[in-house]
């Protein structure tokens, strides 16, 4: 029921609209020449002013702005490129310096080590020489002492023997005979006493 009324409404409305069209459509207002001259006049005026202002004032400004921006961006890009290059060069320099200083430090360290080693060796040699000399001296002394010792011992032996003989026998014996005996003894048993 409702649907029926709805459709009737639509139909009625369309019908009504058609009537209105038929009644009022008196052609296109565009073809009415009443205001043609006025429209041409105002179109020329407004469009002419628009064209003059745009072409003389506004468009050159926009074009200049665009050019300026383009050149500015180009300059900035170039400056950035330059700075990048310089920073790369500096980085290289820095690396060079670092590697150089590393090398130097190594050299210094090596030199110092060699110096120290040389010094140590020199000192060692002199010390060794000194020690050797001392040893030789001491050995000489020992040898002297040793040589002297056997003679002294022989002397002491001869003296003690002569005194003993004096005390035992009561007569003095010729020292030379005693010394002959002692010499003979010491020669025979010298190895036993001195351990040579």
């Amino acid at each position: 029921m409702v649907k029926k009324i709805f459709f009737q409404l639509i139909f009625f409305n369309l019908f009504f609209l058609k009537e209105v069209f038929a009644a009022e459509s008196g052609g296109m207002p565009q073809l009415n020449p009443e205001f043609w001259i006025s429209q041409i006049f105002w179109l020329t005026l407004t469009f002419g002013i628009l064209y003059i202002v745009l072409s003389k004032l506004i468009l050159p400004k926009i074009s200049a702005n665009l050019e300026l921006r383009k050149s500015q961006i180009q300059e900035n890009i170039e400056a950035a490129e330059k700075q990048r290059e310089s920073s790369e060069a500096k980085l290289k320099e820095y690396d060079d310096i670092i590697s150089k200083s590393k090398l130097e430090a190594n050299n210094i360290f090596k030199e110092a080590r060699e110096n120290v080693l040389k010094e140590i060796n020199a000192k060692k040699e002199t010390l060794d020489k000194q020690i050797d000399e001392e040893i030789k001296k001491v050995e000489k002394e020992i040898n002297l002492l040793r040589k002297g010792a056997s003679e002294k011992i022989n002397k002491i032996a001869i003296e003690t023997t002569s005194e003993l003989l004096v005390k035992l026998i009561g007569t003095e014996v010729n020292n030379s005979s005693i010394s002959a005996i002692v010499d003979d003894l010491s020669k025979r048993n010298g190895d036993k006493y001195y351990g040579n």
């Binding site: 565009q30 429209q39 006049f41 702005n65 665009l66 921006r69």
Partner: protein, 244 residues
């Protein structure tokens, strides 16, 4: 009154009647919207060109994008020789575009929906292009009507066709814009009328159509301005680089 879709195109006087000699040049609603469109263009592009910052703001970006858009359009279709005519084509494109777009606002008047306006523009372009052609190439500009590589038997026919097509350029250019604008606005008005007459119950369907049509008409408004400008470029190209 609201039911007739053609009443929106009616021109009426605003203010007093101004007469110069026998001619009536009164300020009308059409004149009003021409002035509004021109002022809007001037204000927008003046604001857009005032400050030059490296990072453009929105209005500057709009101005510069339009500039590069039109400049690219011209260089693509007419080559580098068309550079001196850039300002004219830019103004033309912007004027038609703004008139079309202002017409999309309800209760406004569409300047470009009047054949006399579009015809004056097209005729001016036609005459200008013809004069440029004759200045650049002298009488050799007439070679435009004689395409190369056509059999001699067909030549008289082709030349006649070419001349007719050349002479019909202003008509086709003006009628294209005028008819598109008029048809679109009439259709929108008709659908709008359906919404009212079908009421709350049945008005939703034409309403949705009306919404869709509004989007379509905005597209058409832009497209027709673009077509108008690009056809001007093509005609200019014929006049500047004669290689028919």
């Amino acid at each position: 009154m609201a039911a007739n879709p053609m009443t929106q195109f009616e021109v009426y006087r605003i203010g007093p009647e101004i007469k110069v000699g026998a001619f009536d040049i009164s300020f009308t609603n059409a004149s009003l919207f021409m002035v509004i469109s021109s002022l809007a263009i001037l204000i927008i592009f003046n604001l857009g060109s005032k400050k030059n910052s490296l990072l453009p703001n929105k209005i500057q970006l709009l101005a510069e994008l339009s500039y590069t858009f039109v400049s690219k359009m011209i260089s693509d279709t007419a080559g580098s020789k068309a550079k001196p005519y850039f300002s004219f084509i830019f103004s033309l494109f912007m004027f038609v575009l703004f008139c079309n777009m202002f017409g999309m606002i309800p209760y406004t008047f569409t300047v470009t929906s009047h054949i006399i306006v579009t015809f004056v523009l097209a005729a001016f372009i036609f005459i200008g292009v013809t004069i440029i052609g004759f200045i650049k190439h002298g009488i050799g500009y007439l070679k435009l009507f004689v395409p190369s590589g056509v059999p001699i038997v067909l030549l008289p026919l082709i030349v006649v066709i070419e001349i007719i097509s050349y002479l019909s350029r202003p008509i086709s250019l003006s009628v294209r814009l005028f008819a598109n604008m008029m048809a679109g606005h009439t259709m929108m008005k008709v659908f709008g009328g359906f919404v009212i007459s079908l009421g709350v119950v049945g008005g939703w369907l034409p309403l949705s159509f009306s919404v869709a049509l509004t989007g379509l008409e905005i597209l058409v408004a832009f497209l027709q301005a673009y077509v108008f400008a690009i056809l001007t470029c093509i005609y200019l190209n014929d006049a500047l680089n004669l290689h028919h």
